[in-house]
Symmetry: C5
Subunit: 358 residues, 5 copies
């Protein structure tokens, strides 16, 4: 539970814009990669602090600065003063439990969303907050820096001189980053769909108490994803309705496309959730069916043996004047009667469909 309810006690009551890191600590130092490119050239270098702020900012190329790890409050402060970023934005970058959103600060756009992954070994969904800042000539990306990122395809495309990215502005770079993040949601959904299929097989073959727990675990994961994607869809929806001068008109069609992807993610999520709900019903009904089966076994046994036990008890009575005791064919007659009762009961149960028919 507490996984989804982050600890905010550290900050409660602090002034808004107070920079405090909320969230898991990244191991190792903060890494800053700077990529500068235009149609003809691309340069890439690592820096450790933003002392060299001015030269980067004034260059005529597109600059992409990717920051891996946001626990170093000092570096964030440097970015803030260098790029004129509002303290509330810096605060949001640090507090890693943000709801996906897009905020327009005229000079720059702030986008925050979750980058999700799937841990194959534990079967758990991992999630990491990514903050993107789009300025007139730059894109800043801030990752929590926990476990790599999904931006590699974008870096590869940037290296390719023929890529459209090289001739476009930073808005297309922002789109490219958002696009790979959303594409990655599909990969996670495929994993979840596979897992659901496994649970479904388990449900049909041998449902156990654990199956229900597994279903509810999945449901909770779905809910988590839903809470992540729903506001994202909204945010991209606002982005594509062009309310910022930072986004060129020809980029809008790409954002509309991206919006379509977010809607599809939601659709798929809902399909999976409905499937899970159906599985709960089937599980509960299979529990009832098994109870029925158990009760039938008990009833068949009791119904056959109770009358028989009564008869044998009868002839265990010690009355002096029970004429049957002395009659010669009593024993075989009683035997036949009991066999008749047993057969009669079996025929009755057979007709009711309780035996020899699943």
């Amino acid at each position: 539970m507490s996984r989804h309810v982050r600890n905010r006690s550290k900050k409660a009551g602090a002034a808004p814009g107070t920079l405090v890191h909320l969230g898991r600590e990244k191991a190792g130092a903060t890494k800053i990669d700077v990529i500068e490119y235009d149609a003809t050239s691309l340069s890439k270098h690592h820096v450790t602090s933003l002392a060299q702020c001015q030269p980067i900012k004034s260059s005529p190329t597109v600059t992409w600065i990717n920051v891996d790890g946001v626990s170093n409050v000092e570096i964030l402060r440097q970015f803030g003063s260098c790029y004129g970023i509002h303290p509330l934005v810096l605060e949001d970058i640090l507090a890693t439990d943000q709801r996906s959103k897009v905020e327009d600060y005229d000079d720059y756009l702030y986008v925050v969303l979750k980058m999700i992954g799937f841990d194959e070994t534990s079967g758990a969904i991992t999630s990491e907050q990514v903050s993107l800042v789009l300025g007139s000539h730059y894109v800043l990306s801030f990752q929590e820096g926990l476990a790599g990122d999904v931006f590699e395809p974008v870096r590869v495309r940037l290296k390719n001189e023929k890529s459209r990215l090289r001739t476009s502005g930073p808005d297309m770079l922002l789109h490219a980053l958002l696009d790979v993040i959303v594409d990655n949601y599909f990969l996670v959904l495929e994993k979840l769909a596979e897992r659901i299929e496994e649970i479904e097989d388990e449900l049909i073959e041998h449902p156990e108490g654990g199956t229900l727990h597994a279903i509810y675990e999945m449901k909770r994961d779905m809910l988590f994803l839903h809470k992540v994607v729903w506001p994202l869809r909204e945010a991209i929806g606002r982005l594509q309705r062009r309310d910022s001068s930072l986004v060129n008109e020809q980029s809008l069609v790409y954002l509309r496309d991206l919006y379509g992807h977010a809607v599809q993610v939601l659709d798929t999520l809902e399909t999976l959730r409905d499937a899970l709900s159906g599985m709960v019903d089937i599980y509960l009904s299979s529990v009832s069916n098994r109870l029925n089966e158990v009760m039938k076994v008990l009833t068949i046994i009791a119904t056959i043996f109770m009358p028989l036990s009564f008869i044998v008890g009868w002839y265990g009575m010690n009355f002096k004047n029970m004429p049957e005791y002395d009659w010669r064919y009593s024993y075989p007659t009683v035997l036949l009667i009991m066999a008749g009762i047993a057969v009669g009961m079996l025929v009755y149960f057979k007709r009711k469909g309780w035996i020899w028919k699943k």
Copy 2:
């Protein structure tokens, strides 16, 4: 499950507009049918590539090019350059898990939707993506090309010189194609309604564990259809509110009519879904009722024979001084008492309505 969650791994991270075919492969080569017509003439021919682009485009007639099979990326590219279609549209045509939508690119309208069918042998719903591009003088239709199409009635009407289609523009052709696709939904719904009726009969006569699974299979199909039709309704709704210069005013009333059909499909779907939900409740209640019935049989048997067994056990005791043993009428008296108990019990159960009354 995975049926509804398509594999996008092939493409994740690729640049937007990268043409990769996502979906099932069509067997055989891509077929291209070109139909050109005006009020007086109609010509029809097959081509294998679009080398002859220019002549087709410049003709003053209405041109309908139907492409059967979209796995050939090269042909798609030719269409793209010949008709000036945006790479993102081409990408959507190739990725066969699109949500139904209408997109207006000023020069042309892009419509994507599902064409569904019903496989009589397996009882499964088949679905195939159809992309339609409406230009000023042409309509392009791209089918996955898996199992025939539903456009035959349109072809027949085109051959008829008196048909209104012959004297109308390409917008009416688009309407005609959409209309047959939506009409086909009704046919599939009729099949589903028949299947639901069968399940209902099964439910009342002899419900089994399998029935519930069948109901949930149907529910999932319904959900799939809902996810297909809901955005379609939205898309046609936007179309009929006339936001494109490619659609003539007199065609709008036809689109409004089409919109009404889509709404009716949704209505029918909802009716069927509600019927299925009610059937789940009835199934579960019938399981409970059968448990009740089983328990009654058990209780009746136990309640009659336990006291009787106690009595015969009583007179199996070996105490020396049990005066009943020597008394002459003990045996018939005990017999009468036991008969009395048995009859009493039966009367009691009869009054409770447990026996001789269903």
Copy 3:
């Protein structure tokens, strides 16, 4: 099920505006009643075809033509050409599974809705499609013509010279027709409410398996009505917001009143549906309660007689050296012990509230 999913196969793929009758066939010939009236005069006659189109149209009075039976496609075609009605409207009149709607064709308004009834003998809801066309000087009404209509009160009011209808335009006639149809919904709802009350009594006195089926039958009827009334409310809502020049301003207050009635029908429907939902819960809980009762009887019997049977079994053992056999008061002592056990058990169950307390 199939009752609510009409067969459209006859028409699938036909050109829009193709006139094909979909629905049940009316027995007997189509009847056409023409009523012409103004403040001072009223004439009424039957015609069999519309050969006499022109004279009717040009008269300065209000003309109401009621067509009973729509299976005669030829007559429909005559109306179409005589009153300039769009082929799609004619198609909708013929296809008797339309969703209630209002469509504005500038020269005339097209209203389609369901006229419902209640068959006392079968307890089923009957429904018949009524199409109304409001022109500048006329109202056309097309009924399926299955089982009479509900327009009699309107005819009576027309005959009355002092009636406001006589001095008003055709829009008030349209209102009058809609009004009697909606009023009739209340009558059907009253019947349903009575039937629900009967089921409720049945539920409390002696719930059976059939009760649940009856509840679900009712639920389905409710759903059907809801699907009929919901779009009707919407349609009347649009009508009363005055988007047609055919409706006078002073008629709007009447349409607003009518709208209020439609909302009330929906409200009542919802009340009835909620009542039915509660009844399902009560039914299921009563099934559980009866199971509990059965199990209690079984448990009481078993708990009393099992220990007693054990004791009498004990003294049926044949060990040589069982001193109790020879002891004089063994038999009465055992008797007392058994009586004590039985009484103890009964006291225990009494305390648990399992017996002598419902």
Copy 4:
């Protein structure tokens, strides 16, 4: 059920504006109280008919006419002609199953709503329709007149010369009347909350079959109130957005306050409904738990006594050569074995937590 579905058969098919009283008959004659006031004077008198229409209307003071009992159609008609009230409004005043609404007829505002009460003896909610007409110098109030009214506090305030009501226009009087009616909803809700608490206690201490019925009765009452308050909230909401010249600007803040009260009533209703829903779940789960308890008793008894009965049965066998019969310590040994089995079983059940632990 039928309590909430009023009989409209009397009126079906009548012309709109036909005055027919629908609803329960008030005992006794219609009472008409006229109060006229301004800042300095207040006069109060009873009239029996509206023959004296003109003088009342033309007076410069605020006039409040309260009509107790609406079954006298003639008096209604007098009001209609005297104050120029539309026949449809008169019809709504007479039909006492109106949905709460506000209608603006330019010269006057028509407000209809329910005045509810709580009958302490039967625990039932009573409801009575109140119609209010606000004109430029008057307020008319029409009550069904069944069981007193809640307007006493308003009358008391009017008598007080310092009351703001005396110096305000009729719009504030309308507000005052609406305000006492809505305040009265809170009183009824408090009663319901008390009743729910009683049911809750009953549920925890000794739930019975009747408890569920009581819960559903309450749920139905809630639903009824919801249906009454929901449109009322809407109506007051429209009133406070000032769409009538009859309401002064400084009165709007009071209407906004009233709107807040209506929202609070809805909030409270929803809280109570959720509480009831939770109680249904707890009831059903307690039924299951009791079944579990019953089954445990049965299982414990059977599991202990079945093996013991088997053993004593064993030594009741009559085989000649059963060496145990002659062995000296057979009897005490068998006794010990049986004691061991009994103790073992009890330990087993104790471990399972079936006994000596609730």
Copy 5:
């Protein structure tokens, strides 16, 4: 229940604006703290009444007056006349069951919301109404004064000369107060999440009847919070869309941030509620599973011992001519048969997975 339905009987029917305190009584006298500050100075003093109204109001600094305890109606009245506050606002301050809302009275803004806390000992949520009035140079805060407040961090920041609060207007002070209140919601949610985790553990390890009650208690708390936060989100949403001249443009970004927090609180609440719903299902299913387990034990015992008891009963019969009695190996043969039956049954149950497999 009644906790959430406050007693309004005291006030029903009173004139709007009548000042009556509704709610729990604060112990001790009302405390009034006055803080006046600008960028360079800060003064703080306590007053007991508002006799000194004029000087405070006219000072050029920002004045924050915090009133602890609202049961003293006289003091409220003084505030009303001193700051020109509308009687309806005063009435709302006194009635401590207000729905969170923002009201704009041109000269001042009125904000009312709940300040919540968590009582560690009882595990209950405490809630206290806070009313805030924002004027051009002042902020008034009215607390119920029950158990301290959460404003301490704001007081600390005000003392700090470098704090942005000192150089901003009263709108930033309002934001600061709202911000600490909303931040406090997160702390309470963390506590609830911990409690839910405890219940979850309890549910998995040893679910009892009490667990369900605990879950429903939590659900009710959630509902209460939802009802508190939902209108708060709405109110802040309206505030941040800037409809008051009292809020500066540069403060809007802070209000937008605050709005984001409120949305996050709602999101977290919904996550917790969904978790609780899942737990109800798991609880109910575990009850069913336990019933199944009990029934299996009973069935196994009965199925093994009933046939065995029948056999031993058989050889307790007293027929003279039962040849088995005299046959030498009868006894061991019967022994073997019985052992065979017992083993066979166990194998059967093992195969069915009823024993030796959980």
